[in-house]
C-alpha cells in the first residue's frame, strides 16, 4: 500500500474506533458524561486525562521546538509536567470538596457575586481561545502534509473537522473514547522513537538511547549532536538556553501555574468520586503524560541529528576526518529524499540555492563557521518549520509507511481531543454560566444547547482565522494561553482556598489586573488580539522582551504576581468577606462530607 493510501486507512480506522466506542459506551450508560471517571478505574481515568491534556502542542510541536532550543527546551518539559504537582496538592482536592462543576461556578459562590463569575468567564475565554489557535496551527500542519495541500488549506480543512467533531460527535467526556485516543497517540509517539533509537544507538528505550553510544563511535548521542551543531555554527545543544537563565526560570514557572489554572484540566478533577481520588488521579494522569514527555527530548535530539545527516554526509563520517564543508558532502538538491519534496508542497520546508551550486547547505549563517566562509557558502539555504519535525521525523529516518501513517493518526487524536475539550469548556461557560446562570435565567434547555453550539462555531472561526497567521509555533501559542490562565485564574483559585479573608473586590481586581497586564505585554509583541501589524512595542521603546529580557510567552508568571499583589491591596481597602463565606472555606479544607457534584447541566 502506498503512503497516501496507508495514511487514509490508519486515520480512518482510528476514527472508526473512537466512534464505535462512543456508540457502545452511550448504549451502556447515559450518565457517563458528568460522572466521567465515576465508575472507571483510576488508571483508565489517568489515561483519559492524558489524552485531554496532550494536544497538538505536546505531540506535533514540542519536540521540534526542543530540537531547535536544545537544553532550553526543558522549560516546556518541566513546565507542562511540574504543574501537576501544584494541581494535586493545592487545587484538585479542595475544588472536589467544594462540589461545583465549573470554574465560574466556584468563583460565583466563593466570591459571592455574579461579577466574579463573569470576570472568570472572560479569563477562561481568553486562555481557551488562545489555546485553540495553537491547536489550529498544529492541525493545519498535519492536514497540509497528509493531504498534500498548502498550509492555509490545511488550517481550513482542520476547522471543518474540529467543528464536526466537537458539535456532532460529542465524544468528549466519554472516558473510554479518550482512553482509545490516548493509546493511539502514545503508540504513535513512542513507536517511531523506539525505531529511531534502535537505529542510532541500539538501545530500544529512547529515554536511555539519548545518552547511549552513537553508532559505535565511542561518543554518546548527545555528544555527537553537540559536535555536529557546533561545527555548523549553531549553539551547543546541551547547554544553549532560551534567552537568559531568568527567562527560562520565569517561563517554566508560568507554564506550571498555568497548568493548574486551565479550566478544561481542572474540570476533570471536579468529577472524581472522592477527595482522595482527586489527589491520586493527578498522579496517574502525570504517569501517562510523562511517558510522552520523557520520550520527547530523545525525539528532539535524534530528529535534529537525522536532519543534519540527511543534508550533510559528514555527519556520519568518522569524527577525525569528517569535513562538513567539502562540496561533495552537501547533498544535491535534485537528489534530495522524497520526504523533503512532500513537505515542500506545504510551504513549511523551503530551499533556496543562494550560491548556485545545486547543493543544499544547512548551517547557522548568523554565526558562520570559518569553514563555511572559506567554502564559499552564501547563507543558509534550507528553512525547516519547527512544527513539522515530529511529523517528518519517521520519514527522515526512512521508517515503514505504516509508522508514518500512525504518526498522522496520533497527531490528529492529540489535536482533536484537546480542541474538543476546550470547546466544551467555552460553550458551557457561555451558555450555562453566563446566559442561563445570569443574563437569561428563563432560557430553555434547547436554547442553552443552541447557544453552546453557536459559541463553539464562533470560537472555531476566530481561532482558525488567527491560526492562519499564528502568533508563534503551535507550542509557543499554547504557552501564551497558559500565561493568560496563570495570570488570572490560578491566583484567584489559590486565594479562594488558602485565604479565608479574600473578598470579591480583591479577587475581581486581581484577576482583571493580572490578565490585563499580561495581555498588554503579549499584544505589544504579537499584535492586538494577535492581528499582525498592530504590535505596539514602540510605546515601550521598541525593544522586544523589554521587561528584564522576559519573553511575552513567559509573562504569565509576572502577571500572577501582579494579580496577588493587587488582590491583597484591594482587599485591605474594602469591606471584609462575609462570615458564612469564611466558614465555607474552612469546610472545604477537610475531606469528610464531600457530596455529589452539583451544578451540572443538560
Amino acid at each position: 500500500m502506498g503512503l497516501q493510501a496507508m495514511t487514509y486507512f490508519v486515520v480512518g480506522l482510528t476514527f472508526a474506533i473512537y466512534i464505535g466506542i462512543a456508540i457502545w459506551a452511550r448504549a451502556g450508560s447515559t450518565s457517563e458524561f458528568y460522572a466521567a471517571g465515576g465508575s472507571v478505574h483510576p488508571v483508565l481515568n489517568g489515561m483519559a486525562t492524558g489524552a485531554d491534556w496532550m494536544s497538538a502542542a505536546s505531540f506535533i510541536s514540542m519536540a521540534g521546538l526542543i530540537a531547535n532550543m536544545g537544553y532550553g527546551g526543558c522549560l516546556f518539559l518541566m513546565g507542562w509536567t511540574g504543574g501537576y504537582v501544584l494541581l494535586a496538592m493545592l487545587l484538585a482536592p479542595y475544588l472536589r470538596k467544594f462540589g461545583k462543576f465549573t470554574v465560574p461556578q466556584f468563583f460565583s459562590e466563593r466570591y459571592y457575586s455574579n461579577g466574579a463569575a463573569t470576570v472568570g468567564v472572560i479569563c477562561l475565554l481568553a486562555a481557551s481561545l488562545t489555546y485553540i489557535i495553537g491547536q489550529m496551527t498544529g492541525v493545519g500542519v498535519a492536514f497540509s502534509r497528509f493531504l498534500g495541500v498548502s498550509n492555509t488549506t490545511g488550517v481550513i480543512i482542520g476547522m471543518a473537522i474540529v467543528f464536526m467533531y466537537a458539535v456532532f460527535g460529542g465524544m468528549k467526556g466519554i472516558t473510554y473514547t479518550q482512553v482509545a485516543q490516548y493509546c493511539v497517540l502514545i503508540l504513535a509517539y513512542t513507536v517511531p522513537a523506539i525505531f529511531i533509537s534502535m537505529q542510532l544507538t541500539g538501545n530500544p528505550l529512547p529515554q536511555l538511547g539519548l545518552g547511549s553510544e552513537y553508532l559505535d563511535t565511542g561518543h554518546s548521542l548527545l555528544n555527537k549532536v553537540d559536535q555536529v551543531v557546533t561545527e555548523l555554527g549553531f549553539a551547543k545543544y546541551t547547554t544553549m538556553t532560551r534567552g537568559s537563565q531568568l527567562n527560562v526560570f520565569v517561563y517554566t514557572f508560568s507554564l506550571m501555574i498555568g497548568t493548574a489554572g486551565l479550566p478544561h484540566v481542572i474540570m476533570r478533577f471536579f468529577t472524581v468520586p472522592k477527595v482522595r481520588d482527586a489527589r491520586s488521579s493527578a498522579g496517574w494522569a502525570l504517569v501517562f503524560i510523562a511517558i510522552l514527555y520523557t520520550t520527547a527530548p530523545a525525539v528532539a535530539a535524534m530528529a535534529r541529528l537525522n536532519l543534519h545527516a540527511t543534508v550533510n554526509k559528514a555527519v556520519t563520517q568518522p569524527r577525525e576526518t569528517a569535513d562538513f564543508f567539502a562540496p561533495e558532502n552537501s547533498i544535491k538538491y535534485d537528489e534530495r529524499p522524497a520526504w523533503m519534496q512532500r513537505w515542500e508542497v506545504t510551504g513549511l520546508l523551503k530551499f533556496e540555492d543562494k550560491n548556485g551550486d545545486g547543493r543544499i547547505q544547512y548551517y547557522n549563517d548568523k554565526n558562520p563557521p570559518a569553514g563555511a566562509v572559506a567554502a564559499g557558502w552564501q547563507g543558509n539555504e534550507l528553512k525547516v518549520n519547527n512544527d513539522i519535525m515530529v511529523l517528518a521525523n519517521p520519514e527522515i529516518a526512512l521508517l515503514p509507511n505504516w509508522v508514518i501513517a500512525l504518526v498522522a493518526a496520533g497527531g490528529l487524536a492529540a489535536a482533536l481531543s484537546t480542541a474538543a475539550g476546550l470547546l466544551l469548556a467555552i460553550s458551557s461557560a457561555i451558555s450555562h454560566d453566563l446566559l442561563k446562570g445570569m443574563w437569561m435565567k428563563d432560557l430553555s434547555e434547547s436554547g442553552e444547547l443552541m447557544a453552546g453550539k453557536i459559541a463553539m462555531a464562533c470560537s472555531i472561526l476566530v481561532a482558525g482565522y488567527l491560526g492562519l497567521n499564528p502568533p508563534d509555533f503551535a507550542a509557543g501559542t499554547v504557552a501564551i494561553a497558559f500565561g493568560l490562565a496563570a495570570s488570572s485564574i490560578f491566583p484567584a483559585l489559590m486565594m479562594g482556598i488558602f485565604s479565608k479573608t479574600m473578598n470579591k473586590q480583591g479577587a475581581i481586581a486581581g484577576m482583571l489586573s493580572g490578565l490585563g497586564i499580561t495581555m498588554i505585554y503579549v499584544f505589544a509583541h504579537k499584535g492586538i488580539f494577535f492581528i499582525k501589524g498592530t504590535e505596539f512595542l514602540g510605546v515601550f521603546g521598541g525593544k522586544p522582551s523589554f521587561f528584564f529580557g522576559i519573553e511575552p510567552n513567559a509573562f504569565g508568571a509576572i502577571g500572577a504576581v501582579v494579580n496577588f499583589a493587587v488582590a491583597f491591596a484591594v482587599k485591605n481597602m474594602t469591606p471584609p468577606v462575609p462570615e458564612e463565606i469564611a466558614a465555607m472555606v474552612e469546610n472545604v479544607r477537610t475531606p469528610r462530607g464531600a457530596g455529589a457534584v452539583t451544578g451540572g447541566h443538560h
Partner: protein, 84 residues
C-alpha cells in the same frame, strides 16, 4: 476553628511545604540554577544538569504526587476527617 481543625490544617500546610521544597530544588535548582555546574558530571551519557532538566525532574514529579497522596491520606486518618 477548633484546635483539632487548626492542627489538621497546620499538618496539611507542613506537608505541602515539604513537597514544594523538593519540587523546587529538583526542577528550578538542579535543572536550571545549578545545571551549568552539574553538567561536568556524567550520568549514563547525559550531562547531569541536562538530565535533571529534560528527564529526572519529571520522574521526581510523578513520585512526589503519589508520596503526597499517601501522606495526606495518613494525616486525614490521624485527625479523623477522612471519607467513608
Amino acid at each position: 476553628m477548633d484546635n483539632q481543625g487548626q492542627a489538621y490544617w497546620k499538618a496539611t500546610l507542613g506537608l505541602i511545604r515539604n513537597v514544594l521544597i523538593v519540587w523546587f530544588v529538583v526542577s528550578y535548582g538542579l535543572g536550571i540554577i545549578f545545571a551549568p555546574a552539574l553538567n561536568s558530571i556524567s550520568l549514563g551519557g547525559y550531562p547531569l544538569g541536562f538530565w535533571f532538566a529534560q528527564q529526572g525532574s519529571m520522574y521526581i514529579f510523578v513520585a512526589l504526587i503519589f508520596i503526597y497522596a499517601k501522606l495526606m491520606g495518613n494525616i486525614d486518618k490521624k485527625f479523623d476527617v477522612h471519607e467513608d
